[in-house]
């Protein structure tokens, strides 16, 4: 299996084998972060630009740490402080970054499809760090990596995704990745947060959290994105916790070793109780650690795919 893509835009377009290649490569990269000198020279002399049009701390920092552990130079551009505020378009910004001879753009944007559009317009690599409600591939990859590391496999697992499915790119990317690798996915949320036709993605739907927990080997609890609430269909916070929040009482009825995952940042007392977030089933902080290895693998692989592209044109 060889990686040939210059970009990583989402999991929908990837084959099972490509996803497995990323996970296996990440497995090799994980060790680098345990060394006394946490750095390898694989991307020495390459420039990675983090172009973030939405606020993000953990994803941006994770990409930055990953790039630096590969010895790349990293430049961060946040929309609040850049010419984007003067009305420069995404494509113009991208072409300017390309003209600076950067090698990889990591982009987050609130419009679905933004990363794909940018990737078509520039010759350098583009990695999607979240586009609107569409995809957040590296988050799903690190969730897959954590599942595989903890449970030894993905095929045949029952995985519940709980929370705001409708507005969640994390949910979409996870559903693509999990179903491609053979897991059974159940989504669970209040009816208003389940998007129409979601079952066409091959998932089972339930509106009952206890039912979602009963068979699950792992649950991925999504953050309630109250900042996206436009005063319409969002449930009230306490009501949500009462009906869907993960508590120790609810976990007691689930499989004993069920993994509790969360992409962060957690709203404690809304999606889950503090006891669960800090409890023995929680792998939330291990997800953060694994995110670095997965992003190192992605940056390394797209830079390799990128090099091949130039070779072919020579």
């Amino acid at each position: 299996m060889v990686w040939t893509r210059k970009d990583l835009l989402g999991l929908e377009g990837l084959s099972k084998e490509e996803i497995e290649l990323i996970l296996n490569t990440a497995d090799s990269f994980k060790e680098v972060s345990t060394r006394e000198i946490k750095k390898v020279p694989a991307l020495r002399g390459k420039t990675v630009v983090n172009l973030f049009f939405e606020p993000s701390t953990r994803t941006r920092v994770s990409f930055e740490v990953a790039a630096k552990r590969l010895s790349a130079d990293v430049i961060n551009i946040a929309s609040e402080t850049s010419s984007v505020r003067k009305g420069e378009t995404l494509i113009d910004t991208g072409k300017n970054i390309e003209a600076l001879k950067a090698d990889i753009i990591v982009v987050r944007h609130n419009a679905s499809g933004a990363a794909a559009m940018l990737a078509r317009q520039v010759n350098i690599s583009v990695v999607n760090a979240g586009d609107g409600w569409h995809e957040h591939p590296t988050q799903a990859l690190l969730d897959l990596f954590t599942l595989k590391e903890k449970l030894g496999r993905i095929e045949g697992l029952n995985v519940g995704i709980v929370g705001d499915i409708a507005h969640s790119r994390v949910a979409r990317s996870n559903i693509w990745g999990l179903t491609k690798l053979g897991a059974k996915v159940t989504v669970c949320a209040p009816q208003v947060l389940i998007p129409p036709a979601i079952e066409q993605m091959g998932v089972h739907i339930t509106y009952n959290i206890d039912e979602a927990l009963r068979q699950a080997d792992a649950i991925n609890v999504l953050r309630m994105q109250f900042e996206r609430d436009e005063g319409t269909a969002f449930p009230e916070q306490l009501e949500y916790f009462k009906n869907f929040g993960i508590t120790e009482e609810r976990l007691a009825k689930a499989k004993r070793n069920i993994l509790v995952m969360h992409p962060g940042p957690i709203n404690r007392g809304i999606e889950m109780s503090s006891e669960v977030a800090d409890g023995s089933n929680s792998v939330i902080l291990e997800q953060v650690t694994n995110g670095i290895a997965v992003r190192m693998a992605v940056l390394f692989l797209v830079s390799q795919g990128h090099d091949k592209k130039y070779e072919n044109t020579n």
Binding site: V2, W3, T25, D27, S28, F29, E31, V32, R35, E36, I37, K39, V40, P41, A42, L70, A297, F300, Q304, D307, K308, E311
Partner: protein
Amino acid sequence: MISRALMRIAHEILEKNKGTEGLCLVGIRNRGVYLAHRLANCIKKIEDKDVPVGSLDITLYRDDLTLIAAQPVVRKTEIDFDINDKNVVLVDDVLYTGRTVRAALDALVDFGRPKSIQLAVLVDRGHRELPVRADYAGKNIPTSKKETVEVRLTEVDNIDEVVIVEKD
């Protein structure tokens, strides 16, 4: 030939390092790892002592990452012992240009500062492009650059042999 050569190398390693004190072996992926484990077994037979064995993947340290046609697979590096102030014997199957060893030296010093780094190879086929030499060599095989030397080991290839293949 392979097992006799390894036994001889094991004796030479013990002679030079005056025993197993502070000694450890690090195999370069892929076949160097199997050879390092075999050397450790030889040392165990001779001295009845265990020496730690690690494995090193040098892909991320290569100087030709952007040149090679076939995409390299990044494998795991596993050195779960301290190499500071140790005598580390790097183990590989074939010594050729010396570039793999150069990369391995760079990788190894990221793990600490060994007292010494020595190099053991099963086959030295010449044609060095860097100032590198082996401290222990199973066999010197003069070759042409048009040939490749393939070491096959039972652990991965179901047979122990060294063959010289004409490149097409």
